[in-house]
């Protein structure tokens, strides 16, 4: 600015706002025309929006929820239903077939089998993988689903029952069994002997005859005379190398006898429903261990 000419009114033909503070005035540039039009446009748009979509709360009776409904009567729930109906109708044909086919027959129908496995796989990832691993490999305390070592049975029927009602869950049809803490009844010596005997069983060594008598007396009713397990009680097989809570060493077996650990599996029937569970059964069966 030229110091000799500091009166802004003489520089421009814009004019000032009219305010004056001790000789200081302010130029009155208008807002850009495009900006003004967009601003006015948004106001008009809003009025149209109120007319079409739900917008204003209304002071009326308690019977009305929310507020004005708009001429389209749009709700997010209707939108959800629409977007769901699209995918549901695509699934419908196969789903209906699945509902009307026994799980056993599904295994012989390639197209339906694939439908079940794909659906089961996605449900498995969301609901089962956290405990049983994303490939069904299991984790400490949670059984591997890829092998043929089943606690409660690996047939389609047994799998279905386990998934529907869970194990030691709060569902009334749940599978249930409890191994009692036996240390007090057996005595310290006896616990050590049995632990050694059971550890030997899984390694297939017959040299550990010591403890056999105690085992027969205290353990065989559920775990079987030769440690073969019993699926009625979900009693694990002890004669193989597969262990739920450790590596099958003596200390670990001893601690299980003293204070038994029990797995819990939730009942899924209320959360997932019959259809998804049927798909899950087929999927888990397909992992390789199905009987």
């Amino acid at each position: 600015m030229n110091p000799s000419n500091n009166n802004i009114e003489t520089q421009d033909d814009i004019g000032t706002t009219g305010h004056e503070w001790d000789g200081i005035t302010e130029l009155n540039y208008p807002c850009p025309r495009w900006w003004v039009w967009i601003f006015l446009g948004t106001i008009v748009w809003a009025v149209g929006y109120w007319y079409i979509y739900p917008a204003w709360p209304v002071i009326s009776g308690d019977s009305e929820r929310g507020g004005t409904k708009g001429v389209m009567e749009w709700t997010q729930y209707k939108q959800l239903e629409e977007s769901q109906s699209e995918i549901f109708s695509r699934r419908a044909e196969n789903l209906e077939k699945l509902q009307n086919t026994s799980t056993k027959d599904v295994m012989d129908m390639p197209e339906l089998y694939e439908f079940a496995v794909v659906g089961g796989k996605s449900a498995f990832k969301e609901n089962c993988a956290q405990c049983h691993g994303s490939g069904g490999g299991g984790a400490k305390g949670y059984p591997n689903l890829n092998d043929d070592d089943w606690l409660w049975g690996g047939s389609l029927k047994e799998l279905s029952k386990t998934i529907k009602y869970g194990i030691r869950s709060d569902h009334k049809n749940t599978r249930n069994s409890v191994m009692p803490p036996l240390a007090a009844v057996m005595g310290k010596d006896s616990v050590t002997k049995v632990s050694r005997y059971v550890a030997g069983l899984s390694k297939g060594s017959s040299s550990t005859a010591e403890g056999a008598k105690e085992y027969k007396q205290m353990c065989s009713a559920c775990h079987g005379v030769n440690g073969e397990g019993n699926r009625i009680f979900g009693a694990p097989k002890l004669s193989d190398g597969i262990w739920l809570y450790g590596k099958g060493d003596e200390q670990q077996i001893e601690s299980q006898i003293k204070s038994p650990q029990h797995g819990v599996m939730p009942a899924w029937i209320d959360r997932l429903g019959e259809d998804t569970i049927k798909q899950l059964v087929v999927y888990v069966y397909s992992l390789g261990g199905g009987e």
Binding site: G18, H19, P57, V58, I59, D62, S63, E64, R65, G66, G67, T75, Q76, Y77, Q79, L80, S83, Q84, I87, E126, N127, A129, Q130, C131, G133, A139, K140, G141, Y142, D170, Q261, G263, V264, M265, P266, R271
Partner: protein, 243 residues
């Protein structure tokens, strides 16, 4: 116009009055709709206030910043409903102060996590999340297992929430500590009946962390997680029905 405005600027009382009028208009437009807020809460059966132990669990949840990675709101969108189940209702978080909706999902949404995993899974997962979910980046919260749950003043906590509109009764406030102990299976004999009477027979009573002897923060937070999303009776719920 400008001349009239000059009068306003030169008279402080007049200016004050006009400022109050202007702010009142804006205030009314923002505040009045809130008086009708309850009409946006859907009528659904089964929602009860949190038990004292669950509330202590929610405190731990907030303290540890779980909301930073986990939301508690299933949006009414197809993919969300497919994955997590029924979309969340406003009624389901009406007793949450503050609500835990969240918007960041580094981990999964927890609005319906209740009943999804066993207690022992939660215990082990809090201590070492990668043991079960190798790809998880959740840190370990093993300190919860050894810290005592903060229950000494839980009664006054209930009282404070009552001020905000959570319908805790006098007997709930009076028995808050006993109820908390009873729910974690650490209470004296017969205290469980009172808890179930006050909070309903579906209240989960278990030794959540599997360690008898004291009520840990793990007990509290697992009791809270196990009830999330399980209260509402969604089978009867229909968004179009107005009561």
């Amino acid at each position: 116009m400008l001349e009239k405005h000059k009068k306003l600027e030169k008279n402080s009382i007049l200016l004050l009055i006009f400022i109050i009028i202007t702010i009142s208009i804006g205030g009314l437009i923002e505040i009045v709709p809130l008086f009708r807020l309850e009409t946006t809460i859907e009528p659904v059966k089964g929602i009860r206030p949190y038990t004292p132990l669950e509330l202590a669990g929610q405190d731990v949840y907030i303290r540890e910043g779980c909301y930073g990675c986990h939301s508690q709101q299933i949006r009414a969108l197809r993919d969300e409903v497919e994955r997590y189940g029924h979309y969340s209702l406003a009624a389901e978080s009406m007793y949450d102060h503050p609500f835990q909706w969240g918007s960041k999902r580094t981990g999964p949404d927890l609005a319906r996590v209740g009943g999804k995993y066993s207690d022992s899974w939660h215990v082990q997962h809090m201590i070492n999340p990668q043991e079960y979910v190798p790809e998880s980046i959740m840190p370990s919260y093993s300190h919860m297992a050894t810290s005592k749950a903060s229950l000494d003043d839980i009664g006054s906590h209930l009282e404070a929430l009552r001020v905000t509109g959570v319908p805790y009764t006098d007997s709930m406030i009076e028995n808050a500590y006993t109820d908390a102990m009873a729910q974690a299976n650490e209470g004296e004999a017969n205290t469980k009946d009172g808890l179930l009477k006050r909070y309903g027979k579906n209240t989960i009573v278990r030794d959540f962390d599997g360690k008898a002897g004291f009520v840990s923060e793990l007990d509290a937070i697992i009791s809270y997680l196990q009830v999330l999303g399980t209260m509402a009776d969604l089978k009867d719920y229909n968004p179009d029905v107005v009561e």
